[in-house]
Symmetry: C2
């Protein structure tokens, strides 16, 4: 069986980012918390490092929504999937949105 | 039959506004366009004055989502329902969000 490769992972171009799609992606406590975590980390994080109060499959779904909306970038390395925030792309297209969202996502984490 | 009154319309307190609920409410092109229209009007507008490319019942659903999220205020006068943007409440709780959302909602309108 072929191993999963990063080429399977679709990412929208920065010019194709859609404001309502991005808002809908951020409009969920778990996804907002993921974004805050990635924003605070400032680097890529493996999916396994997020301590989220949801099942593994639900978690995967949340990462996928964020990737397809263009909020995060994902890449595979061996059996691990890494995630990073598309900070520059989002700051370019929707300036101020992440600055507003990240502190709110931190509060979600603090509430868990 | 009793006429519909504004007391039927539930509005969350400003302190109860939830960031992800507000983002999810704004994360739809029709709802974002409604918000832009109300923001630009700077006053209340009757539901009938919005030229939206959706059915009347779908439109009512969108207004309801916005009200329940705390984005708009609704009141009934006779048979008409008026809508206004909760600009001060939103600016207080999530500064900058509407400044970002309204221009994006205008683009939605322009695309119709």
């Amino acid at each position: 069986m072929a191993s999963r490769t990063s080429t399977d992972l679709v990412h929208p171009d920065v010019t194709d980012l859609d404001f309502t799609t991005v808002l809908a992606a951020l409009g969920d406590p778990v996804r907002l918390a993921i974004v805050a975590r990635l924003g605070d980390a400032g680097t890529e994080l493996a999916c396994t490092t997020f301590a989220l109060p949801v099942s593994k499959s639900t978690q995967s779904g949340h990462f996928r929504v964020l990737r397809e909306a263009g909020v995060i970038r994902q890449r595979d390395e061996g059996t691990r999937r890494f995630n990073s925030l598309r900070r520059t792309d989002l700051d370019t297209r929707f300036p101020g949105l992440l600055d507003l969202a990240i502190p709110q996502g931190r509060k979600v984490f603090e509430g868990w």
